[in-house]
């Protein structure tokens, strides 16, 4: 029996496990663990792949076109390629009823961060106001994680909004479009800052130099399809390291159904079922650490209480950042060429200072480089041939600002179980209040468009997309950490009140959701918990 039973191999789980192993503990990890397919031709660039693969259409579009992004009212200007399908695959019988919430869940090795874009931002001290620990408690763990995974960044105008206490690697060289935006920003800084808008380099978990067995970014333009060099960090890279550790046991192929409690309601293990069906198994441990991702952890927790006869438990406070896409055209870049073989994701980030840290806005600005073009072309307002012609002339000028707004726990946004007539249960996720932040959303959009205009860009109002709740994939808040002794909350060490031995190590335990990518903080918090739990 392991001392620590960790559920899930995502960003939180692997870093909790690694910190525990570094302490000399024994860790057993249970996981569904759908595996990433191999990366073909690891030295080939995005364009080279199309010429060198035996079946490039199947690689880029799937065997029967399932990777094609067809026109629809909800179509995004990008799609996840077939090579990322494993990230979003769900085991059977894990259906979710969604009301006002479109969640993305992952049962892959490495979890949802297998499909992230690497944004790694520290929280400010004030952003931890509702957490039962301070910035000083968390900073050393940002440092631990930054050294493990490699995060690039630069000390710039974003520092007041995204501190840089950890050791950051030098950033990658800017692509031509991002460089043009930054140059214009530097020339017009005063006027742009007057709108509340601040620009700087993204902090990204991508390597600008080799780190262990991983290689520095080779600028292949394959980030979205799966970096073949390990340059862009993914938790599966850490999992691969853990698998070589003698005190680590990995048990894939299991869906954890609930936590096993003893007569005193102490966590003593979990009940899991094989993914392919079969008898449930009990796996015992001295402490159970749920790190399956906020939504999957919430499901396990609800099912644990349902097994005790508490079938009507409702967990309020579900959070997700409001996510808005603001596409733009940089007029000075129209008719220029594009280097497709380059780092594909965002190289610039932005903050909107609203005067109140609770409502400050964060975003990342991506210029268009390697990409599937058909989702963008069909969104233009012309026939397809004209759209293609216009697109190719303007390709070097296109970009998108992805912006996020903070979220807070509210009673009407909740998770609960629903029992069907045949006795099966399914999780219900309900986002009852999707309108209260719309005024702030529209202000953020207006500020972003105004700032982009000052940077020489045109951001058509008609192309702005306010995405459905759930799209940011920054889920949190159902089992919040806090100082007060409330049921279904956690202590600073992640232990659930009333359930000794059960710890929550993922976003479910976050009591507030800043307008930032959460993953770096999830990893740092998991390392912090590992230092606290005896």
């Amino acid at each position: 029996m392991s001392r620590f039973l960790v559920v899930g191999s995502g960003a939180s789980g692997v870093h909790f496990a690694q910190s525990m192993l570094e302490r000399g503990e024994h860790v057993e990890m249970l996981d569904v663990g759908f595996e990433r397919p191999g990366s073909p031709l690891p030295d080939a660039s995005f364009a080279d792949l199309k010429d060198r693969l035996d079946e490039p259409e199947a690689y880029f579009l799937g065997a029967h076109g399932e990777g094609v992004v067809y026109p629809s009212p909800d179509a995004k200007p990008y799609g996840f390629p077939p090579s990322k399908a494993y990230v979003f695959r769900r085991p059977p019988d894990l259906a979710i009823t969604e009301r006002g919430f479109s969640p993305v869940v992952s049962y892959a090795r490495g979890g949802l961060a297998e499909a992230w874009t690497g944004g790694s931002y520290e929280l400010r001290d004030e952003e931890l106001a509702e957490f039962p620990f301070s910035g000083a408690d968390l900073r050393p763990h940002y440092e631990v994680i930054a050294r493990r995974i490699g995060v690039t960044g630069e000390d710039d105008d974003l520092r007041p909004y995204s501190p840089m206490s950890a050791s950051y690697l030098a950033p990658l060289a800017l692509d031509a479009h991002s460089a043009a935006l930054r140059e214009r920003y530097e020339r017009r800084r005063e006027a742009v800052n007057a709108t509340g808008f601040h620009l700087g380099r993204s902090r990204v978990a991508v390597l600008s130099r080799d780190l262990g067995a991983r290689h520095a970014c080779g600028e292949l333009g394959r980030c979205l399809w799966g970096c073949p060099r390990g340059s862009l960090y993914a938790p599966s890279l850490t999992l691969a390291e853990l698998l070589t550790h003698p005190h680590f046991t990995y048990r894939p192929g299991l869906v954890v159904h609930r936590v096993l409690l003893d007569a005193r309601q102490r966590a003593v293990g979990v009940v899991a079922e094989p993914v392919g069906g079969g008898s449930a198994v009990e796996v015992r441990g001295e402490r159970v650490v749920l790190a399956a991702g906020a939504l999957a952890t919430t499901r396990i927790y609800l099912q644990t209480f349902a097994a005790l006869g508490v079938t009507d438990l409702t967990l309020p406070g579900l959070m997700d950042n409001r996510h808005v896409m603001v596409p733009f055209v940089n007029l000075s870049r129209v008719g220029k060429s594009v280097q497709l073989a380059s780092y594909q994701y965002h190289m610039l980030a932005m903050a909107i200072d609203t005067g109140d840290w609770r409502t400050d806005v964060h975003g990342q600005i991506s210029s268009l480089k390697a990409a599937s073009v058909h989702p963008i072309v069909h969104s233009l307002p012309f026939d397809l041939r004209t759209s293609l012609r216009v697109f190719r002339r303007m390709r070097a000028a296109l970009g998108v600002a992805n912006i996020w707004l903070s979220d807070r726990r509210r009673e009407v946004n909740l998770a609960r179980l629903q029992r069907s007539s045949n006795g099966d249960t399914r999780m219900v996720l309900e986002y009852g209040d999707d309108t209260s932040d719309l005024p702030a959303t529209h202000r953020a959009i207006a500020t972003t468009r105004r700032a982009l205009r000052q940077l020489g860009c045109f951001a058509p109002a008609g192309m702005v997309k306010v995405l459905p709740r759930g799209s940011s994939v920054h889920y949190a808040g159902t089992l919040p950490m806090g100082a007060e002794e409330h049921e279904h909350t956690c202590r600073a060490n992640g232990e659930v009140r009333g359930v000794p031995g059960l710890h929550i190590a993922d976003g479910a335990a976050f009591p507030w959701l800043p307008a930032k990518n959460l993953t770096f903080t999830l990893m740092a918090n998991a390392a912090r918990l590992a230092a606290l739990i005896e």
Binding site: A47, K50, D51, R52, L53, P56, E57, A58, Y59, F60, L61, A63, H64, G65, E66, G67, V68, V69, Y70, P71, S72, P73, V334, G335, K336, S337, V338, L340, A371, S372, V373, H374, V377, H378, P381, F382, D383, L384, R385, T386, L388, R389, V390, R392, R393, M394, R395, A396
Partner: protein, 148 residues
């Protein structure tokens, strides 16, 4: 077999409309294999008629697409054309004609954009004159398949 030949001919016309002239053999078979997708299944009478018109030739396809963009932006013809574009941008040897930037001097670029816009406006106007009557007929036909 007949269906495969039919979709192959359809792909050729759609690809020529989008600007491809050679290297279509692989794409043709991939296009045929993708026809079973649920994304290409649902279509009402007018959607199907637009596809029939578009199959005639690249010029007819241009007019049908211009009209579809206005009236059926998510319809069957647009979906088939987007699949064609997706195949072309992934095809060895010819993808750069679809996925690369067209670099030129600012004057030439803006002139090209103006010409493209003018051509689009003229095609759309012509398409509306030619295809709106067909649209009205489809809407007026009495059976249950009149979701137009």
């Amino acid at each position: 077999m007949t269906e495969s030949r039919g979709s192959g001919a359809e792909f050729d016309v759609f690809a020529r409309y989008l600007g491809a002239s050679s290297g279509l053999e692989r794409g043709r078979s991939y296009y045929a294999a993708s026809q079973q997708s649920a994304e290409l299944a649902a279509a009402d009478r007018f959607d199907r008629w637009l596809v029939v018109v578009a199959r005639w030739s690249p010029v007819a396809c241009a007019l049908a697409d211009a009209y579809a963009r206005l009236t059926r932006p998510y319809g069957l013809l647009r979906r088939k054309l987007v699949l064609t574009l997706a195949v072309l941008e992934s095809s060895p040897g010819i993808h750069s004609a679809f996925d690369s930037a067209l670099a030129a001097s600012p004057a030439r670029t803006w002139l090209s954009l103006v010409l493209a816009g003018t051509g689009w406006a003229m095609r759309t106007l012509t398409a509306a004159l030619l295809l709106a009557p067909m649209h009205l007929v489809a809407a007026a036909m009495p059976d249950g398949d009149r979701n137009v």
